[in-house]
């Protein structure tokens, strides 16, 4: 948890390298190695690695640590004499108050920047606490738009919020539908009951009718929901053209499994923020159930070599390349780029550099970074679809790797 434990743990490789160098150079070489090390830049990573959302928290941490390793391997922060980034890890246990306490602790330990949250509730607490000391804070995932609308000068979000995502989901669904001759006239929304599901469902049910798609039913379910048969029976009875789920992975698995058992037929399954077409794990475990499902979610740019190289690196580590991994990776890399340009670890300088960022080395379909009140305006989700057992991007066209198949052909 503390910087001290961390140094002992993570930098073992570095220690061995230093030791080997010392052995190779003999005693006289050792001080030289020490002198070459610039003061490390401390980056706090606060994620819910235990508790209910531990899976997502762990994925975030993995992504963030990969970014730090990559940046260090490429020579660290060059404007600071090749200073290395040093991860200071924190576990929020899924609770806002523990996340905030971690921030306080890290600020006292002399942290230079914080990447945190995953959940919106935790991101709200950590950014607010970091604001008290004006510590630069990047939110990695938290999709609530309240995070960046509170006027906290230190808080930035590199990825899109759910307002943007829902609007995008509606617009692109309309395009997909129209180019197929508007076969979809009705939709049913199945969403989880917390912030992201409820917020997304509300926006969707307001906006879909404007596109000529009637929302015939919105079903909210608890986390965990132990059985989805009831919900699926209602879907079967209402026969919507489109099924729009917005839920966490566990519930999504049960929902998808039950839809197959109950032989639900629809023209399309279109998840918003979470679903088969943005989960390599699901596609691997349920290849048949996943086929032709569409998602609107955070995703990397499949035409970018940077993104593909990172994906491969993550998969070589045995990770599923989920949105948590690349969003946290980019949150760290965005922060590091700002520190590089600031050429300083002064808080105001880093914040100013983040606000003025035009960074584009992210491999995301975002274009150059443009921060407005702490939100990256270029950030957007994409549409993906499972086609022949792989996840393809189908919209927007400039990033697409395949054409959408709609209505479903099975």
């Amino acid at each position: 948890m503390t910087g001290e434990t961390k140094r002992r743990g993570v930098d073992r490789r570095q220690f061995i390298a230093t030791g080997a160098a010392a052995l190779g150079l003999g005693i006289t070489g050792f001080p030289a190695v020490l002198r070459a090390e610039a003061t490390p830049v401390k980056i706090g990573l606060i994620h819910p690695v235990s508790g209910f959302i531990a899976f997502s928290g762990t994925q975030c941490r993995e992504g963030a640590q990969m970014a730090i390793a990559d940046i260090n391997a490429a020579g660290g922060i060059k404007s600071l004499g090749g200073a290395k980034l040093e991860a200071v890890l924190g576990d929020s246990q899924g609770k806002p108050e523990i996340g905030a306490a971690e921030v306080t602790k890290m600020v006292e330990g002399g942290i230079h920047g914080i990447v945190a949250g995953y959940a919106s509730s935790i991101s709200l607490a950590t950014s607010q606490e970091a604001a008290k000391s004006n510590t630069p804070h990047v939110v990695d995932v938290g999709v609530s738009d309240q995070i960046v609308s509170r006027g906290l000068a230190n808080t930035f979000r590199f990825s899109p919020g759910y307002g943007k995502i829902a609007q995008f989901a509606v617009d692109n669904l309309d395009k997909i539908n129209q180019s197929a001759g508007s076969p979809a006239k009705t939709a049913m929304i199945i969403h989880e009951e917390s912030l992201f599901g409820t917020g997304t469902a509300k926006l969707l049910s307001e906006k879909l009718p404007e596109k000529g798609i009637e929302v015939i039913e919105v079903i909210k379910h608890a986390n965990p929901t132990r059985d989805f048969t009831n919900i699926v029976l209602q879907i079967k009875a209402k026969k919507p053209d489109l099924i729009i789920p917005a839920n966490y992975y566990n519930e999504y698995v049960l929902l998808a499994r039950t839809m197959r058992q109950q032989k639900v037929e629809a023209k399309g399954i279109y998840s918003v923020l979470g679903g088969a077409a943005s989960s390599y794990k699901f596609v691997k475990e349920f290849p048949e159930a996943a086929e032709q499902i569409m998602d609107c979610n955070h995703w990397f740019d499949p035409t970018s070599d940077v993104a593909l190289a990172r994906k491969k690196a993550a998969e070589d580590k045995g990770l599923f390349y989920t949105y948590e991994v690349f969003l946290a990776y980019n949150a760290v890399a965005f922060l590091a780029d700002a520190i590089e340009r600031a050429g300083s670890t002064e808080k105001d300088a880093i914040i100013a550099a983040m606000a003025a960022s035009t960074w584009d080395g992210h491999g995301m379909p975002y274009g150059p970074t443009k921060m407005v009140d702490g939100q990256n305006e270029g950030a957007q989700p994409v549409n993906t679809q499972v086609l022949n057992g792989d996840i393809e991007v189908i919209y927007p066209e400039e990033f697409a790797s395949a054409k959408p198949v709609f209505p479903m052909t099975m």
């Binding site: 899976f55 965990p224 048969t229 009831n230 029976l233 209602q234 009875a237």
Partner: protein, 290 residues
């Protein structure tokens, strides 16, 4: 207003889901209903059972139903050991301490699972995962139909053990009159541990029957604990038939509550029934007067 055509399938589904709840509650009615131990670790131990089934299936290729021969006995040993070695010893016979010890245990177990298995959602892929049985116009998932009959058999078996065996008689004697039972030579610690082990073995059975239609994560147990307590009280403390009927009722209430009030608000039905039963018939549906 929900479509009338789905009420029958929904009811049937509620019954099969309720049977799964009953399976989890059977072990609890023994531990809580007979021994009056409020076992906060019940959910965590269910999770252990589920991981055991998952592990046997994915690593050794053992079918979850074949695992019925392995997991429940192993869980029995675990339960016996926990009660004899930790819970009984640490609680000093005080209710509040039992509560804390089982709470502490659940934290330990859950976090060890997090450490060893990580937090990924694990499922088993069986040839029958997607099989359904058609009955009265409803497609019932085969694993849930099997679980339904499993629950009936388990309740009957437990009832037989409790009423026809020496162990059952000893458990009932201890539950009623601890001092008296000890006077006639019953080893109370041993009997407590046997009952706890038996209760946890039931969780092993539940795990084998649940996993083919569910998943496992380190925190999966939380979703079932409260339901299980509700069923135990509803059915009457220590009544196995009561637990079975209570489980079925809760399954149906959940199904209808979801249909008429919405899936999120519908959960309220379970707790309202629970509160009403406690107020007006605290001995439960099949329990004796308390």
């Amino acid at each position: 207003m929900p479509d009338l055509a789905i009420i029958v399938p929904s009811l049937l589904n509620g019954l099969t889901t309720g049977a799964l709840y009953a399976l989890i509650a059977l072990g609890l009615t023994l531990i809580y209903g007979v021994l009056h131990i409020i076992n906060f670790a019940h959910g965590a131990l269910l999770m252990v059972g589920l991981y055991a089934v998952w592990f046997l299936n994915t690593r050794l290729g053992i079918d979850p139903y074949v695992a019925l021969l392995i997991v429940p006995p192993a869980m029995f040993v675990l339960g016996y050991g926990l009660q004899r070695g930790i819970i009984g010893r640490a609680s000093h016979g005080r209710d509040e301490n039992i509560l804390l010890v089982t709470l502490g245990l659940s934290i330990v177990i859950e976090n060890l699972a997090l450490y060893f298995f990580r937090s990924d959602t694990r499922i088993v892929d069986t040839p029958y995962s997607f099989e359904t049985v058609e009955f009265l116009g409803a497609f019932l998932p085969l694993p849930k139909v099997i679980a339904f009959f499993g629950a009936l058999i388990s309740a009957a078996a437990l009832w037989l053990v409790m009423s026809k065996t020496d162990l059952g008689r000893a458990i009932r004697a201890i539950a009623r009159e601890r001092k008296g039972a000890q006077l006639v030579g019953i080893n109370a610690d041993h009997v407590y541990a046997m009952s706890f082990g038996l209760g946890i073995a039931c969780l092993g059975v539940a795990a084998c029957l649940l996993l083919p239609s569910y998943y496992v994560t380190p925190s999966v147990g939380h979703g079932f604990v409260l339901i299980a307590f509700t069923i135990v009280v509803l059915g009457g403390m220590g009544s196995f038939v009561g637990a079975l009927i209570g489980g079925l009722i809760i399954g149906v209430v959940e199904a209808l509550g979801g249909l008429f009030l919405g899936e999120s608000l519908g959960q309220i039905g379970i707790f309202v029934i629970f509160i009403l039963v406690l107020m007006f018939r605290p001995q439960g549906l099949l329990g004796h007067k308390v």
